[in-house]
């Protein structure tokens, strides 16, 4: 079959909303786009373990500790499904990690912010996981089969994460004066970086056009951002917290909120390595990988010895 014919078949599948599967022919750029996006997503899960992991040993009750530990473990599990989904596009996990460690591959910029208080654990679950869900619900219908299926599984767990985050915020907001201040402070610090998670405005988003054409993405950055704001503002009001945006106003005509513009200069700084924790996050990943080398080598050497023994 010539390329033209293959392309026609591929386009036909997309227009019928059929999934593209690993053995199907796909354009090189579609494959590249997916590897970039899925691995970025996997790296975000793994790097995302760090800011929350920062509070596991200090969680203020046994129940909170167990929930947080289980949650961070879930993120690791998500990373694992997503690396597997990436591998179905013919790239190894070692190569993917290499791209992360050398800075070639990105991860979600939100994880370059520090978790300074316990309330940040609440804010991450409520806001960051809430924003991630907006994206992931959409991705359950993404055109690449293994990615869509991983998302179905991930979405179930993410909604539990969002609830646990909101629960932490609820508890703090009915707590002592210090607890209330802690909750408001966390919202103040995480609100704008969370809005940035949806990516730059549609007019400036370089990767969006192809992603929509290939049905990898089905909604634009701005649409998802708007939906997130509409959903989150009443949740904040319900527990007496104030969204730190002077321009936030209900707009009856569009049946949604008008809201201010995130500081895109800050966003670009964080993306280019200058966020408050970029060095620490990547440093921690590289350190774990380097210090784990002898363990991985020992496991391989042992497996070889076993094989030889069986053969002999």
């Amino acid at each position: 079959m010539d390329i033209k014919q293959l392309e026609t078949n591929f386009d036909a599948k997309l227009s019928k909303n059929e999934n593209i599967e690993p053995k199907d022919w796909m354009p090189d750029n579609y494959r590249k786009h997916l590897i970039r996006q899925i691995s970025q997503h996997a790296h975000s899960e793994i790097v995302g373990m760090l800011p929350e992991g920062n509070w596991i040993t200090r969680a203020p009750s046994l129940r909170a500790k167990m929930i947080l530990l289980a949650k961070v473990q879930d993120e690791g599990g998500h990373g694992l499904y997503l690396y597997t989904a990436s591998e179905s596009l013919n790239i190894s996990r070692d190569d993917l990690l290499e791209q992360l460690h050398t800075g070639k591959a990105k991860y979600s910029s939100i994880f370059n912010y520090p978790t300074l208080t316990w309330a940040d654990i609440g804010a991450i679950g409520w806001l960051v996981d809430g924003a991630a869900i907006m994206n992931q619900v959409m991705l359950q219908r993404t055109s690449y089969g293994p990615y869509a299926r991983a998302m179905v599984r991930i979405c179930k767990e993410e909604s539990f994460h969002q609830r646990q985050g909101y629960e932490i915020m609820c508890k703090l907001s009915v707590g002592t004066k210090e607890q209330k201040e802690m909750a408001q402070d966390a919202l103040n610090r995480f609100w704008w970086p969370t809005l940035m998670m949806f990516g730059p405005p549609d007019a400036e988003s370089s990767n969006s056009e192809n992603a929509i054409k290939w049905k990898i993405k089905r909604e634009s950055n701005d649409q998802l951002r708007q939906r997130f704001v509409n959903q989150t503002v009443p949740q904040a009001e319900l527990i007496g917290l104030t969204i730190p945006d002077k321009n936030l106003k209900w707009n009856e005509a569009k049946n949604g909120y008008d809201f201010g513009e995130p500081d895109w200069t800050e966003f670009n700084n964080v993306i280019h390595g200058n966020g408050p924790c970029n060095k620490e996050r990547l440093g921690a990943r590289i350190k774990a990988h380097e210090q784990g080398r002898w363990v991985r080598e020992a496991a391989m050497a042992f497996a070889e010895k076993k094989k030889e023994r069986v053969a002999a």
């Binding site: 373990m49 040993t57 046994l62 530990l69 473990q73 774990a288």
Partner: protein, 252 residues
């Protein structure tokens, strides 16, 4: 010592050991040598936390002063903690973490296998639930002791070093005092002298496969039965308890 007092102390011994070992393993979360092992260690930590939670909750009930599992975990000092010294030893490298886990798992496996027969129904029920989890933990840690001991030259020498650091803390796990004698009479606690040979056999079997030797210096450190710890515990508790202690009126 009344039965109630003895049972309270016995429960602290068990609950604190699970608690502190869970806390140590949780330090690995996000930093494991590869993703699958990161998840496995976190899983073990979660199981141990669940055990600590049930045991400390029961300890609070037995004590009868209205203390919850959180009061016991977050508002006792290092001189009121009864965990085994081995549980609080620093993670070190992965060899040390795995070996520490193996010694504790092997102990817990034979210990809780006996404790399911306790006349105290709650203790028997907690043991029955825990033993399922511990069976998996022991399989995991013993397979890794074998893999690392018998892997590369580097992994072998790291395991030897870990053995040298940890062996001295294994003896006190079998130490008994008045708490044990009071409870053994009632059929609540078990005789640790009966657990010891089983533990030793298992350790011998796994170390042989791992081509590792027990160190020549077999002097045993002791202290946890009297809440006398190594210097590590103070730091573990400062970190773990910082938030509830800094805001004592807050509920979490």
């Amino acid at each position: 010592m009344t039965t109630k007092e003895a049972l309270f102390k016995y429960l602290l011994r068990l609950g604190d050991t699970s608690m502190i070992l869970a806390q140590r393993n949780a330090e690995w979360c996000g930093h494991g040598p590869f993703l699958e092992e990161d998840l496995a260690l976190t899983n073990i930590s979660l199981d141990l936390l669940g055990q600590a939670n049930s045991i400390l909750q029961y300890a609070g009930q037995v004590e009868g002063k209205g203390r919850t599992e959180d009061d016991l975990a977050f508002h006792r000092t290092e001189r009121e903690y009864y965990n085994h010294l081995i549980a609080e030893q620093a993670n070190g490298d992965y060899a040390k973490t795995i070996l520490r886990q193996f010694f504790c798992d092997a102990f817990d496996f034979y210990f809780y296998s006996e404790l399911v027969k306790s006349k105290d129904e709650m203790l028997a029920a907690i043991s029955a639930k825990s033993i399922k989890e511990i069976t998996y933990h022991l399989r995991h840690s013993s397979s890794w002791v074998e893999r690392l001991g018998n892997g590369t030259d580097e992994s072998h020498s790291r395991m030897e070093k870990a053995m040298d650091e940890l062996w001295r803390f294994t003896g006190e796990m079998f130490e008994m005092n008045e708490v044990d004698s009071v409870l053994i009479k009632e059929g609540i606690a078990i005789d640790l002298n009966a657990v010891r040979p089983k533990w030793e056999n298992k350790v011998k079997e796994v170390l042989e496969k791992a081509t590792l030797k027990i160190p020549a210096n077999t002097f045993m450190q002791r202290g946890s039965r009297d809440a006398k710890h190594t210097e590590h515990l103070g730091f573990i508790l400062s970190e773990m308890q910082s938030l509830p202690r800094s805001l004592p009126d807050a509920k979490w």
